[in-house]
């Protein structure tokens, strides 16, 4: 049956730490991480909506937490996660359509994802400040 020596010599998936640092690789990890943040972040949306539905007292309590500096920081982080993940998703759609696989384009798209994510988060933060 199963040859032990054969099993031992089967190719292993390369581990993360043996890879040279690449922007596309880092952005792949960040895409997954931002997805994870948003997963947890849905709790903030659900709590906010349930509080609003529960009446003004509950809403005021939750709103107070969200308006605190730590609350704002978390929300800003989630806004960045959403925007970064959304642009990352568009990058995936471009690949799905068969474009952008060559090294320079892939690198440019990864850099664009990183920069545009931060810039657009800044725009949203300023807009939220202006329209507050």
């Amino acid at each position: 049956m199963a040859d032990a020596r054969l099993a031992a010599s089967r190719p292993l998936s390369p581990h993360l730490q043996v890879f040279r640092f690449l922007l596309t690789m880092a952005m792949s990890i960040v895409h997954r991480m931002t997805g994870g943040f948003l997963y947890v972040g849905t709790v903030f949306v659900a709590v906010w909506l349930v509080a609003a539905a529960s009446g003004p007292d509950w809403f005021a309590r939750v709103d107070g937490v969200y308006q605190s500096w730590i609350g704002r920081l978390i929300l800003l982080g989630l806004v960045w996660s959403l925007i970064h993940h959304a642009i990352g998703g568009v990058r995936h759609f471009i690949w799905d359509l068969g474009y952008g696989f060559d090294k320079t384009t892939a690198d440019r798209m990864a850099l664009f994802n990183l920069v545009a994510g931060i810039v657009l988060t800044g725009v949203v933060a300023i807009a939220a400040f202006v329209f507050a």
Binding site: L38, T42, A46, L49, A52, V124
Partner: protein, 130 residues
């Protein structure tokens, strides 16, 4: 291996037992919910910017607007499904111990359902009450 005497091709044994057990269905769902979430998240971000800092009455009136409520329900439904199948992939990638994996997958389903149901119930109450 005595299997060579059977009149079954290896396809018979392989069918239904691929790595994902459901072909590209999962992949495709991730794309469709992704496209929907991308469009709806634009509405969501605009709504967030508009509502942040607003008082209770304004928030309730805005969320109670049927157009807003429908778009929010769609956004939350699509996002919850997107994140549920996304987290499933992460668990399948990193959690190798069979029991732990099943428990993690189950917890993922429960968490996603809870978040989705709580948000939907709240939105429906707000929009029907407004």
């Amino acid at each position: 291996m005595s299997k060579s005497f059977r009149f079954q091709t290896s396809l018979k044994h392989a069918r239904g037992f691929g790595s994902g057990k459901s072909g590209t269905g999962h992949f495709w769902q991730q794309r469709v919910t992704g496209v929907a979430a991308l469009l709806l998240s634009l509405v969501y971000v605009v709504l967030l910017v508009k509502l942040q800092g607003d008082d209770y009455g304004t928030v309730m009136a805005t969320l109670g607007n049927p157009f807003v409520a429908v778009l929010m329900l769609a956004f939350l439904g699509v996002s919850v499904w997107h994140m549920k199948i996304g987290m499933q992939v992460i668990i399948e990638d990193y959690v190798n111990q069979p029991l732990l994996r099943v428990l993690a997958l189950m917890a993922n389903s429960f968490f996603s359902a809870l978040v989705g149901i709580a948000s939907a119930a709240a939105l429906i109450k707000i929009t029907f009450g407004a």
